[in-house]
Symmetry: C2
Subunit: 114 residues, 2 copies
DNA sequence: GATAATCGTTTCGGCCCCGGACTATTCTTG
DNA sequence: CAAGAATAGTCCGGGGCCGAAACGATTATC
C-alpha cells in the first residue's frame, strides 16, 4: 500500500539526495545521528537515552555523544525527568523541526524528478 | 514524472531505512562513501578521482581515502588509465553491485510499507 | 537504613576522517 | 627537449566517533 519504489528508482533517489546532502554545507549529520534525530521527531515521546540505544541497537555512549553534538547544533535538547531523576528526556526543538522540514522538502523535490 | 513523495512519507521512509542501516552491521558506509559508491554505479564511466571530487564538491583526499576503504571491502576497484597514465579509472565490482542491490531491495521493501 | 539495581555520563586507547600542503609521475606546450 | 600543467597519492596536526569499563547519582529492594 506504500510508495512502490522500484529498485532503480530507489537507488537514483538515494544517489541524488546523498549528493545534495554532501554538497550542501549544512551541518553534516552521520547516518546514526540522522536516525536518532528522526526517531525523536517521528516516534511518540518520551525518549530516553536507554530507549534510543535499545531501539537503534547501539551502546549508550553513542546516544550520549550524538545528543551532545546535535545539542550543540540545537537540533535537540535534554531535560531531567522529575519523576525519576535518573532519566533524561530528549526533547524536540524549533531548529530541529526546521532542519527536518528542509530535509524532507529536498527529498520531496528530488523524488519528483526521479 | 517522478515519485511524488509527500513530506511526511519522505521522513518516514528515511527514518525506517536509516534505522535498518544502523541496526544491520553491514560494512557501515558514511554518507560520503555511499554518495561516491552510488555515483560510480549510476553514472556513466569513466570515473576519475578528480571528476568525483568535483562532482561531490569535496577535496581529492576525501575521494582517495573513500576508495581505499571501499576498495578493502571490494566494493570498488582502481585501474590506471593506459591512455593517460596520470588518471585512475574507478571501476565497479561484483561485490559492489550486490551491495547496492541489497540496499535497493531494502529501500524498496520499506517503501512499500510506508 | 543498607545493599543492589538502574541510568546517564565520562574516561580510555584506538581508529578513521578532515583539509591544506607537498610529492611523484605523466602529459602538454613552446 | 625543457618547462610548466595536470593528476593521484601522501603527510600532517587536529578532531570526532567507537565500544568497554568505570563512575556518580538516583531509585528500588529487602
Amino acid at each position: 500500500m506504500g510508495i512502490e519504489l522500484s529498485t532503480a528508482k530507489a537507488l537514483q533517489l538515494w544517489h541524488d539526495v546523498s549528493l545534495h546532502q554532501v554538497r550542501d554545507e549544512e551541518p553534516d549529520l552521520s547516518v546514526r545521528q540522522l536516525a536518532i534525530l528522526l526517531t525523536i521527531y517521528l516516534e511518540a515521546p518520551p525518549h530516553t537515552v536507554r530507549g534510543l540505544a535499545a531501539k537503534l541497537r547501539v551502546t549508550k555512549p553513542v546516544i550520549t555523544r550524538a545528543l551532545d553534538s546535535m545539542g550543540k547544533l540545537e537540533l535537540v535538547s535534554r531535560r531531567r525527568d522529575e519523576k525519576d531523576r535518573r532519566n533524561v528526556l530528549v526533547q524536540r526543538t524549533v531548529k530541529g523541526a526546521l532542519y527536518l522540514e528542509r530535509f524532507a522538502d529536498s527529498v520531496g523535490r528530488i523524488s519528483s524528478r526521479v
